[in-house]
Amino acid sequence: MNSLLEVTDLQVSFYTYAGEVQAVRDVSFSLGKGETLAIVGESGSGKSVTSKSIMRLLAKSAKIKNGSIRFEGKELASLPEKQMQNIRGKDISMIFQDPMTSLNPTMTIGKQITEVLRKHQNMGRDAAAKRAVELLNQVGIPNPEKRLKQYPHQLSGGMRQRVVIAIALACNPKVIIADEPTTALDVTIQAQILELMNRLQDQMGTSIILITHDLGVVANMASRVAVMYAGKIVETGTVDEIFYESRHPYTWGLLASMPKLHEKSDELQAIPGTPPDLSDPPKGCPFAARCPYAMEICYEQMPSYTEHTGTHRAACWLQDSRAPKVERPLAAGGER
């Protein structure tokens, strides 16, 4: 595939007073032009840390230990901060979760949008203001001229998220990283924002990395999915492969724990237990302790990836030819 961004064997650790926490452990994926890759997982699975590593926005206590992040032939993992600043916000930009905190409350909307344009595109004051109006129109904010003079607190949550999207789009980036872009929004506003993001992507051909825990949002937006658990990608495939032909018990568990609108069942299929502590990760498969199909080997050794199709692979010992056959549970969806 013609890939724009290539992450290989990424390892990121946090160094805390209690020791090293291995938040991301050997993560590899690639992002093609115009596609949307969803990274799903629970809190603490390392999905946000992965995205922040790409943007090089990690906290001081965190370090990229190993691995490479190649973007258009450039190695981002070791790029000096000065050069990174020319990429951040221009070639790769980010949409954050909480529009209440990701905008500066002391700056007008206009100032925050034109700031990017003036820095990266060397636009003059007037040209930048004109472009800002265009951008607000593009993201569906009525009365853009008036809005430019307002402060974030004068806007509703949905409007603020539109402003955040406008800032992310300002320099026509090649990649947008959207970290839980709709989690803080109400469901009707979420529908508006998802529609907007899908439309803008069609128009501009931007690649999107979508970080979320909401499988509904994934089904709506993504073309490919990577499922993360305890700092590792346990399964990756096209959106249809993940939703209808998933192979990993954790993916099954995630899909089954969503309530189905069209059927009434008494009990939800919860995944028992909690994720492992990454300051002392298990040496085998991290999901083994919660996995109903766990075998002896699962506790001993991390499984390697088994390729099912060119796009679909899973890291699970059940895929080994010597393992007993386990059928995907019905609650995890898909056809037999």
């Binding site: 529609e195 499988l215 309530p259």
Partner: protein, 344 residues
Amino acid sequence: MNTEKKPLVEVSHLKRYFDVGRGQILKAVDDVSFEIYPGETFGLVGESGCGKSTLGRTLIRLYDATSGTATFKGSPIHGSKSKSEMKQLRRDIQMIFQDPYASLNQRMTVTDIIAEGIDAHGLAKNRKERLEMVHALLDTVGLNRSHAERFPHEFSGGQRQRIGIARALAVNPSFIIADEPISALDVSIQAQVVNLMKKLQRERGLTYLFIAHDLSMVKHISDRIAVMYLGGMVELCESDELFDNPLHPYTKTLLSAIPLPDPKLERSRERMVLQGDLPSPINPPSGCRFRTRCPFAMEVCASETPKWQEASKGHYVACHLYNGEQAGTAAKPDSQGVDHHELV
């Protein structure tokens, strides 16, 4: 469902207004009426700012009612009550809060958090009995007895919510108000907490008011569901009925907005996307409050507030589209836009 039974909670024309200064009144809850029957789970959904949390807090008397009445087991919740009546009420109604990180005192051990109600009501004769009660509660909510002497920061979100549930159960309530109890949790943990709440309901015959904005989870747990918009109730019926046959245009848009975890369905689905934002509850639109965003708004919607009426047995709606004669003048929502079967 339990229509022959006497309601446990009866709410009639309840209003809760807030004075926000400069002579402005915020009508957070404006004239709602409903009943909750013993043993049922009553779901309450709506977007942020619709008044669902205010309603829950008014029912547990964290807020006084501005007007209207709410009764619990036949006696009013608000108004003057003797100390012993108040104490009984506080035992009977308990609350589970949204944010398990903010709702537990980080300086108290799990035992002290759970036993606070036991102490306040003098339910344990001595320290030993108190500890036994705490241990029994920890067993009930699926926590380990060895957790009793730990502090909240040592627990994950799901475990903390279990502590919150144990605290609510400690005084043997019959009615629990759960205000977004799972919104702060991960999907796989949400399922654990919901299953626990259902199990406790079966074992103890609890009645729940389950407040949430996640419709699919509400559908799963509730017997009946009420939908609120901008301080008013727009629809109330049994939970299957709400999903199979939604009447109010707002309910339809809410259902249509939920992204489903099914990519093929998502690709083919026609969405009914609401335009604009929620109007301010300080100065709500005249007549029907939803009319400014409603795709089916008629003239009458601006001039008259729609009546709360029973459209079919047990299915209440406040919308002019279902007003008999007037309904003919506008296209029925089913004939254009969203067909509810698509939602299934």
